[in-house]
Amino acid sequence: MLEIKDLNVFYGAIHALKGISLTVEEGELVSLIGANGAGKTTTLHAISGLIPSAPGSVVSLDGADLRKTPANKIISMGLAHVPEGRHVFARMTVEENLRMGAYILRDQKQIASGLELVYTHFPRLKERRRQLAGTLSGGEQQMLATGRALMTEPKILLMDEPSMGLSPLLVKEIFAIIETLHKSGITILLVEQNAKMALAVADRAYVLETGKISMSGSAKELAEDDRVRKAYLGA
């Protein structure tokens, strides 16, 4: 479904991504794990067009070239991005935030069904729908950012470090939600530093090291691999 070939990204003179290739098939949950500064967030930003990728890179979704699509049009092609660090619209209410997620939709019925979908996955957001997003707790803001991306019922969801800055209990809760989303048939590309959790929920995974994919395979295999265990799982 999502195909990335030879993706190169430069920040000025710094070569941040050095020819990354990865694929995500329909219905899969693929994790991209790696340390700080490996280029995980850069990869997601390049996919959703928030930063330009070098000529020759291939980013395609169901055969359509995403590199030629401006960032704000990519969502209408069925790719939704949950940015890192809980980017919510702090001075708008929860429901306004969700409605912003459906900004590209005109059909009120579709928006209503999107809201319903989000509220079934995140009942807590429904309770707080009139509250300002900035006053939510960290975990709730992560739910809101995820819910907002679900509003358009995308084909594929890119999630950037959903566990960032959350307590262990909340991390478990968020990952349980990710699993539920996955089971309901949504394709997910998950970027995580928390390799243990990410490998536990994923079908397949890639390991990113200083801008290059160093390992890939089924999540189970990787979780048992000695190098991965030493470097990321602390065993």
């Binding site: 960032a71 991005h81 708008m92 900004y103």
Partner: protein
């Protein structure tokens, strides 16, 4: 149900505006000839009108879009000179001879519209490159624009002292075709009021629309806004252009209210009321993200400015205090600092006044205050 309420709101607002307007016209008819009404109140109202438009339009960019623009008076200068020169050209061409009648009124409105449009076009041209920059850099570039526009006008061959005379470029324009005298200001006050009400309504409609929600989203988080499918750069340019339009209209009203124009009055170094930083003070004082706040703050700041310039109490102050008021910018700077320390949200925060919601708002505010009081009492009891 919701549509019903909107319709009721529009009806209520229209009725109130019409009644107030009729009342005002009656007052004008009764006292129009009297000294202080004609010489103090009416010119003050003209000033308030363009200051309100200036502050409210800057609030679109500063409060709702969250971008710091320091060149707002540049757009006003464009509007003022457009209206003045266009009306002068009409006068020279003999479209109107005496300053009255239907044709003259039509020309006034045409000038106001042209002023807004030319300012908007300039806003578009400045906004496309400038809004690629963020924060301080945008502030610097807009500050530069404000200075550049003054110099450009100074050097245009047809902006000389006598208006359209070729090659007599100078800082002042002594004739303005429109340039109402004190009597005409009373007669045509309704134009200023009508234009202000109309423009403020258009701005309210903008911030309440889908576009308004989108620009507030951009203010809160650009990355998330972009990921939600909002074209961030084009919305920024759109808002900047829309805001420049109303600054241009404010300029046209200014051109009506003054018989001669001087570029110095729009310059950044100007210590008077038309200074881009002064407009920023108004917006911050009223509340970034509240048009109601901008309107109230514009009137307050006008009053402060008027008192500093004309108040007899200034002369009565001891000399060391008196001196401070010779530098009004110093006073405004202090006002800005005090506001930022003690009430950073401004007077109104993001609250918008609305007739139809007024009763509910007051009730809710009362409940909140009672709750806060009860909490304080409890805390005291604990202590």
């Amino acid at each position: 149900m919701k549509n019903n309420k909107t319709a009721q709101g529009i009806l209520l607002n229209t009725i109130v505006i019409v009644v107030l307007f009729a009342l005002f016209q009656a007052l004008t008819a009764a006292f129009g000839g009297a000294g202080s009404f004609k010489l103090v109140l009416v010119p003050s109202l003209w000033q308030c009108c363009y200051l309100i438009l200036l502050a409210a339009s800057l609030n679109l960019v500063l409060g709702f879009l969250g971008q710091l623009s320091l060149g707002h008076c540049g757009f006003m200068a464009i509007g003022a000179y457009t209206a003045a020169l266009l009306s002068l050209a009409c006068e020279r061409a003999g479209v109107f001879t005496d300053k009255s009648g239907a044709v003259y009124i039509l020309i006034i409105f045409a000038c106001i519209l042209a002023a807004g449009l030319l300012a908007a076009v300039t806003g578009l041209l400045v906004g496309i490159p400038a809004l690629r920059l963020k924060g301080d850099y945008l502030a610097i570039i807009t500050l530069g624009f404000g200075m550049i526009i003054v110099n450009v006008i100074n050097n245009l061959p047809f902006c000389g002292q006598d208006g359209l005379a070729q090659g007599s470029a100078a800082a002042s324009l002594y004739k303005t075709g429109l340039g109402f005298g004190s009597k005409a200001k009373v007669t045509y006050l309704w134009i200023a009021l009508l234009v202000t009400v109309l423009c403020v309504t258009l701005m309210f409609m903008f911030v309440r629309s889908k576009y308004g929600r989108a620009i507030r989203a951009i203010r809160d988080d650009e990355i998330a806004a972009s990921a939600s499918g909002i074209n961030v750069s084009s919305y920024k340019v759109l808002t900047f252009t829309y805001s420049a339009f109303f600054a241009g209209v404010a300029g046209a009203l200014y051109a009506c209210a003054t018989s001669s124009l001087s570029t110095a009055s729009f310059a950044f170094t100007n210590a008077g009321i038309l200074n881009s930083t002064f407009v920023v003070v108004m917006v911050v004082l009223g509340g970034m993200g509240s048009l109601t706040g901008s309107i109230v703050a514009a009137v307050i700041m006008f009053f402060v400015n008027y008192q500093i310039a004309n108040g007899s109490w200034v002369a009565a102050l001891p000399p060391f205090l008196n001196g401070v008021f010779k530098y009004p910018m110093l006073v405004y700077a202090v006002v800005l600092i005090v506001v930022i320390i003690f009430r950073p949200r401004g007077i109104f925060g993001t609250y918008e006044f609305s007739l139809i919601n007024l009763a509910g708002d007051i009730r809710r505010a009362r409940v909140r205050r009672a709750e806060a009081k009860a909490e304080r009492k409890e805390a005291k009891a604990h202590a």
